[in-house]
């Protein structure tokens, strides 16, 4: 009982303790190293400035001030928020309808329909954007088709390189990201809930309103957050289908790093982008407050 631990006891004990410490260090260290430090570093850089091509490391809010006062930053930011909200609204509505459509099929058919909607996720992003360009372009499928039908004599130019084109392209590309979480939420609704709802006298529409949509809400919120974040940060699609019209906030951030080489300003704008997406996540979280776990 009271015998002193032998030497080997203490060493194995020490080794076990070291392993535990290492595990804690990794658990805590990896996120810090790969997530927190990069974020903190550009938060830090956002408080510096660029003068004569050199970064000046003195704390200043100048970059944030320019966001609010200078040129087109704020208007582009607001128009991008508005665009993203529109895409989110349209996509969540469409995705909810599609998810409901899949949900109402027999289990065997569901998987195939779901997979066919997920198929675009297996394609390269660039290919999808080009595909949209060939549909919307001056000599694109849509224009040629309309002309062949004699509905128009000249190609409609606004189809491509317009805000509408960006809107359509973003909606198409990010639709699967909304369908998946919404469908998964619906899929978790016990089958007999709808039977019980109908049994108690509810119409299909009332069942949708009182059972399906409330229980699908976590999925709808997740789908909305995914769509909003992805659209808001996208800087490739707007450039490729929007041309000069497609100056979104993502492209401004990108241009500060890639073209203007103004990293401090770029970082400040990126911090604003990050804050906006975090706000979106927080708002979505608020709607899930009243979830009752079974």
């Amino acid at each position: 009982m009271s015998a002193a631990p032998t030497r080997s006891d203490t060493s194995s004990c020490r080794r076990a303790r070291a392993l535990v410490a290492l595990r804690h260090a990794l658990n805590l260290g990896l996120p810090i190293l790969f997530v927190l430090i990069p974020i903190l570093s550009f938060v830090l850089v956002s408080f510096w400035t660029l003068q004569d091509g050199q970064i000046v490391r003195t704390f200043t809010l100048a970059n944030y001030r320019s966001f609010f006062t200078e040129g087109s930053y704020l208007p582009v930011y607001l128009s991008t928020v508005w665009l993203s909200l529109q895409v989110t609204f349209v996509n969540v509505t469409l995705a909810t309808a599609i998810a409901l459509f899949i949900f109402r099929r027999t289990p065997r058919v569901r998987f195939f329909i779901l997979m066919s909607f997920m198929l675009p996720l297996f394609m390269s992003y660039i290919i999808k954007v080009y595909a949209i360009r060939t549909i919307l372009g001056q000599r694109g499928l849509l224009n040629e088709g309309l002309m062949a039908l004699g509905l128009i004599d000249q190609p409609i130019e606004v189809l491509l390189f317009s805000r509408t084109a960006i809107f359509v392209a973003l909606a198409v590309i990010y639709l699967p990201y909304a369908i998946l979480p919404i469908y998964l939420a619906l899929d978790r609704i016990p089958a007999n809930y709808l039977a019980a709802s109908a049994d108690l006298g509810a119409s299909a529409l009332q069942g949708l309103r009182h059972i399906v949509l409330p229980l699908g809400r976590p999925g709808i919120a997740a789908g909305a957050v995914f769509t909003f974040i992805l659209t808001f940060g996208d800087f490739v699609t707007p450039q490729m289908v929007g041309g000069t019209q497609g100056f979104t906030f993502g492209r401004i951030v990108f241009s500060q790093f890639g073209l203007a080489l103004n990293w401090p300003l770029g970082s400040a704008l990126a911090v604003i982008l990050l804050a906006t997406t975090l706000l979106a996540v927080a708002l979505a979280g608020l709607t899930l407050r009243r979830e009752h776990v079974r």
Binding site: A195, D199, L200, A202
Partner: protein
């Protein structure tokens, strides 16, 4: 008198499999009717057909003189208590119970009053604000019942509602269900595979097997006068002895079995002579006496095992001519267990009216 609910010659197929065949059930007002059957017998399909969750391939479903064929689930004038209750977990107990009134567009104040009344009826007065996840199994059961009766249907359907509960709670809920049914004065159509539960609760039992009605009647009638070997074995315990019908005298049939000739009473028409029949005798109807006292119907068998079961003792006997059969005899455990020992030879006898003559597949 016109039945409240009448299933007329209902049949149902899944592909080429006939799951229900000529089902005819009439439920009277205020009746506690149980549809009893082993799993796969089609009893759940019957319930789903009544509820409107399943279509029929033949026959008619009438409620209060009205054909329900074109009536969708949500317009059928009765409600269901589901097997696993199907309580909406995102709604409080009160919201769950008030759901039927809410979708009918009743005013909020009325819903609140009636929910409070029904909660009182099922003994859950203080639980309205809780959520289903915060309730015990028995409490959830009561919420499911409350939800089904709030719209004051003349009948409710119950799909094995007690199967998820443990034994003590089950007995308590049985008493509660029975008293609730009497208080409400509405018809209960109850589905179960548990014959004890069926016997304890029902005014009438319909036994279903392989998609057909095997027999129906009051619990005591089914227990005392089974018509088929299936019923005899399914409801309570029975000793079944196979043989051939040798002679007939009124309702009495003489059956030649491997253990000798036995006399049994038939409930329905007797089959032709020479046909294979079975004799069923309840373990509690058998009298044991020392082997020397020979009587006309006596079988002599050897005690293989004596089991003390609390209120009863169960004596298991074997007969040299019946190698695959264990004869069971039940006696009150009044201390006489000491009178028996294994290996002892005893005469088994019973009153002629306690031996039922059964026709296999009849």
């Amino acid at each position: 008198m016109q039945p409240l609910l009448h299933l007329e010659n209902i049949s149902k197929r899944y592909g080429s499999v006939r799951v229900l065949d000529g089902i005819d059930i009439a439920v009277a007002d205020n009746e506690f009717l149980t549809i009893l059957g082993p799993s796969g017998s089609g009893k759940t399909t019957i319930l789903r057909i009544i509820g409107g969750f399943e279509s029929i391939d033949g026959g008619r479903l009438m409620f209060d003189g009205r054909d329900l064929a074109a009536v969708p689930i949500n317009r059928r004038p009765f409600n269901t208590v589901f097997q696993d209750y199907a309580l909406f977990h995102h709604m409080s107990v009160a919201e769950n119970i008030g759901y039927g009134l809410k979708v009918r567009g009743r005013p909020k104040a009325e819903i609140a009053t009636r929910v409070a009344d029904v909660l009182e009826t099922v003994g859950l007065g203080a639980f309205g604000a809780r959520y289903p996840a915060q309730l015990s199994g028995g409490q959830r059961q009561r919420v499911a019942l409350a939800r089904a009766i709030i719209c004051e249907p003349r009948m409710i359907l119950l799909d094995e509602p007690l199967s998820a509960l443990d034994v003590d709670l089950r007995a308590q809920m049985q008493r509660f269900l029975k008293s609730l049914q009497r208080r409400l004065g509405i018809a209960f159509v109850f589905i179960t595979h548990d014959q004890e539960e069926a016997i304890a609760l029902s005014d009438r039992i319909v036994v279903v097997n392989h998609g057909r009605i095997e027999q129906e009647g009051a619990p005591e009638q089914l227990y005392r006068r089974p018509r088929t070997p299936f019923i005899a074995a399914f409801l309570g315990e029975n000793n079944l002895l196979s043989g051939v019908l040798a002679a007939v005298d009124g309702q009495l049939g003489q059956v030649d079995t491997a253990a000798g000739r036995l006399v049994a009473t038939a409930d329905g028409p007797l089959p032709a002579l020479g046909q294979a029949v079975q004799v069923a005798v309840r373990p509690e109807h058998i009298t044991l006496s020392p082997a020397s006292a020979a009587t006309r119907d006596a079988l002599t068998a050897e005690v293989a095992d004596i089991r003390f079961l609390g209120a009863n003792i169960l004596i298991e006997l074997t007969h040299p001519a019946l190698p695959d059969t264990v004869l069971k005899v039940r006696r009150l455990a009044d201390g006489s267990a000491a009178d028996f020992r294994t290996g002892q030879k005893l005469n088994l006898s019973w009153a002629v009216h306690d031996a039922a003559l059964l026709v296999p597949g009849g």
